[in-house]
């Protein structure tokens, strides 16, 4: 059973998922969506939110069957001992890889926007040191911190509103210019930024209350993230003309660059500092997930010991790409990995679990 001390409330679960979902992708999201879906980008975002909701339902349906098991303990129960372990390692690699990608994109953007001359390893060390410090704590401590920094998402929304001083709604039209197939394709671009709900697989048993409440918390988190993304995409779509979009790969930052208020001349730098916190929470989330897995396999469930070398692996991963091409490649691998481990495998697991229970019932 889960110790009383490491339990979290449903509200905390919501913020946990929210903070892991909202992450490094937010800055370039409008650009990526617009490239495919044009003026219908905000619809793509909403569609992606619905898809993510379905995926959450699947994850929840699995977890509900094993209310006191985390991902790593119920995998062998569903898939058998060998495959269960294999899948467990698969998930650990997935978590580590996503954590690594977060670091790569983080250093990329910070290196491009503010700290041009700072070497990569310095940026990485700063982020990883913070990450390790938090990820070695219990899920309750992590969740509490996530709740308190969620306030920054509101600040981000407020800062984005500065953009509304100069907008042109006709940039949105014709909404279906790209056609519905492309709008759907655009939503796959968004979906990758919505991953993070996999945390449910590990966090589920730690949460107090009944399963319906947990589903509600997870869904609410997903809804908030989707709305936040849709708002940001929408804002960018009415600020940048369609011809300008292909030039600007971080539209949100770019938009804020041109505004100044009395005290802060460069709002974008202010925004970036907040964004760093948002990125750190996602990184911590994945680092925690990976080290929980490693802890389960190697340290009798103590994830604390695994955090250090898990972070080291992330560091190595983030040091690999030296050019844009490698980053792109790794990004693609991450996308595939996300689809496999957040959508594909859970679905298969659910089907297996469903049929095996049916068979058991029949045998009886």
């Amino acid at each position: 059973m889960i110790k009383e001390k490491s339990r979290i409330t449903q509200g905390q679960l919501m913020f946990l998922i929210l903070q892991i979902q909202v992450g490094v992708g937010i800055l370039s999201l409008p650009y990526r969506v617009q490239a495919v879906a044009k003026g219908g980008g905000w619809i793509s975002t909403l569609i992606a939110g619905i898809v993510a909701q379905v995926l959450i339902l699947i994850l929840w349906a699995i977890c509900r069957r094993y209310p006191s098991d985390t991902l790593f303990t119920f995998l062998p129960k569903i898939a058998g001992k060998f495959f269960g372990k294999l899948l467990g390692f698969g998930y650990i690699f997935h978590f580590l890889f996503i954590a690594g990608i977060i670091l790569i994109l983080f250093t990329d953007i910070v290196g491009k926007w503010i700290l041009m001359d700072t070497p990569r390893w310095a940026l990485l060390l700063l982020m990883i040191a913070t990450g390790v410090y938090l990820a070695k704590e219990s899920i309750r401590v992590i969740a509490r911190l996530f709740v308190s920094v969620s306030f920054f998402i509101i600040v981000m929304v407020l800062l984005t509103m500065a953009g509304y001083t100069n907008v042109n709604f006709t940039y949105l039209f014709p909404i279906t210019e790209a056609g519905w197939p492309n709008i759907l394709k655009g939503s796959s671009e968004v979906l990758i930024s919505l991953v993070g709900f996999e945390v449910l697989l590990v966090a589920y048993p730690y949460v107090e209350g009944n399963s319906a409440g947990k589903l509600k918390a997870a869904s609410l988190a997903n809804m908030l993230t989707t709305l936040f993304y849709a708002f940001e995409v929408f804002t960018c779509l009415i600020i940048f003309s369609p011809a300008e979009f292909p030039l600007i790969s971080e539209p949100l930052m770019y938009m804020l660059r041109s505004f100044s208020i009395q005290i802060v001349e460069r709002i974008d730098l202010f925004f970036l500092s907040i964004w760093v916190i948002i990125v750190a929470t996602s990184f911590v989330g994945y680092l925690y997930l990976a080290s929980t897995g490693l802890g389960y396999f190697f340290h009798r469930g103590e994830h604390k010991k695994a955090v250090y070398y898990a972070a080291f692996v992330c560091f190595i991963l983030a040091m690999i790409p030296q050019d844009q091409k490698t980053v792109e490649l790794m990004n693609q691998i991450a996308t595939i990995s996300a689809y496999t481990f957040a959508a594909g495998i859970p679905f298969i697991l659910l089907v297996i679990a469903y049929f095996s229970r049916k068979r058991r019932m029949e045998e009886r």
Binding site: M116, T118, P119, T170, P174, S241, R257, S258, R266
Partner: protein, 378 residues
């Protein structure tokens, strides 16, 4: 004990971390405040830079240091200018970019690319076109004997923005419009007059190039019709009420100064079956009379008469402005944008030679003026 030592040590670490690589101390750099672009007779770029010098003494006022260089591109110009400067040149603080008319008639995007590309460059820099040479304006050094030139021009444009005689724009906000095929923009148009700088209207652009100018009144009408009214918008118009004296020079009694309080406008882009484009532009302005020596504004009939005369007069001015814009191919109202958004099939056909198609667009303009306030006397 171990913990205490750890905390003490870690408290000192940040001291060694503060911006080791990216530090950029203000005392080691020189800040550019304004830059002007001219064209040399050989077709090269002639850039003039204003650098702010803040003397170390507290009481002394800052002085602008101004010098020029010839180059092929703006960035090369900056590097050449940097060579003439003690300390490294930084662009964080640019207040104005001035482009000479001659240069503006060529593609201006290359001049601004570095602003868009370099994350350290400011994007809220004001931009204007200068009649004559931009260098001449900048070499005035000071405006009115006290204000350093770059700051002075920045403030000058800002105050004109308040009067709705130039658009509220900066380097950043023209970018989406400049790149959009369906809309064009206008920039403030300056001129050096004696030892002062004056805003003499706006410069119209088509795509990336300057194509013509609008007078101050035309600019205000354009901005009002576009729905970009700022704090104030004033016109002084001649109203010849009955009993006008033929052949005499106009007396101040023949004029009225109005201030547009509320401007409402509606633009409809209609496309008929033959794919002819018609634009309906209707505006209603509620105005405040701020100067009218003839008085007698308490009589309904007088006010009604004035309303009628002003409506007619300003409708004529609006038509004249739009004609001028059409002739210059400046699609300032974004007719093309409306087509892209709401008539995409039509746009696809007209896209190729939109400039000439735009000139054939039929504008149906009407301005309705209504006097609602008249100050504290009749």
């Amino acid at each position: 004990m171990r913990r205490v030592i750890l905390i003490l040590v870690s408290m000192w670490i940040p001291l060694f971390l503060s911006g080791c690589w990216d530090q950029d101390l203000l005392r080691e750099v020189r800040l550019g405040y304004g830059i002007g672009f001219d064209l040399t007779p050989e077709g090269k770029l002639f850039a003039t830079l204003v650098v702010r010098d803040v003397p170390s003494g507290e009481q002394q006022k800052p002085i602008d240091d101004i010098f020029s260089a010839t180059s092929r591109t703006p960035r090369e110009a900056r590097d050449k200018l940097d060579k003439k400067l003690s300390g490294r040149l930084r662009g964080y603080k640019y207040r104005v970019v001035l482009i000479s008319e001659e240069r503006a008639k060529q593609d201006i995007y290359p001049l601004l690319d570095v602003f868009y590309r370099d994350p350290k460059m400011p994007l809220n820099t004001r931009i204007a076109v200068v009649k004559g040479r931009a260098a001449d304006v900048l070499f005035l050094r000071e405006l009115g004997g006290t204000v350093p030139i770059a700051k002075g021009i920045d403030e000058l444009i800002a105050s004109e923005e308040e009067l709705t005689s130039v658009p509220k724009i900066n380097v950043r906000s023209i970018c989406p419009v400049m790149l959009d095929p369906g809309e064009d923009f206008v920039l403030p148009y300056l001129m050096k007059k004696e030892e002062r700088v004056e805003v003499i209207g706006t410069a119209m652009f088509h795509q990336h190039q300057m194509v013509g100018t609008l007078s101050p009144d035309e600019s205000t009408v354009y901005l009002l019709l576009k729905g970009k009214k700022a704090e104030l918008a004033r016109f002084t118009r001649k109203v010849e009420v009955e009993g006008e004296r033929e052949g005499e020079s106009p007396s101040p009694y023949d004029f009225i100064t109005i201030e547009v309080k509320k401007a409402k406008q509606e633009m409809n882009v209609l496309v008929n079956k033959q794919e002819k484009i018609k634009v309906q532009l209707n505006a209603t302005w509620k105005v405040n009379v701020i100067e009218y020596p003839r008085d007698q504004l308490d009589e309904e009939s007088n006010v009604a008469k004035l309303n009628k005369i002003l409506s007619k007069d300003l409708t004529r001015l609006a038509k004249q402005t739009i004609q001028k814009m059409q002739k210059a191919r400046c699609d300032g109202f974004g007719v093309g944008r409306q087509l892209i958004a709401f008539h995409p099939e039509v746009w696809k056909k007209k896209e190729k030679n939109w400039a000439s198609e735009y000139q054939q667009v039929q504008f149906d303009t009407k301005v309705e003026v209504e006097i609602t306030q008249k100050g504290i006397i009749n």
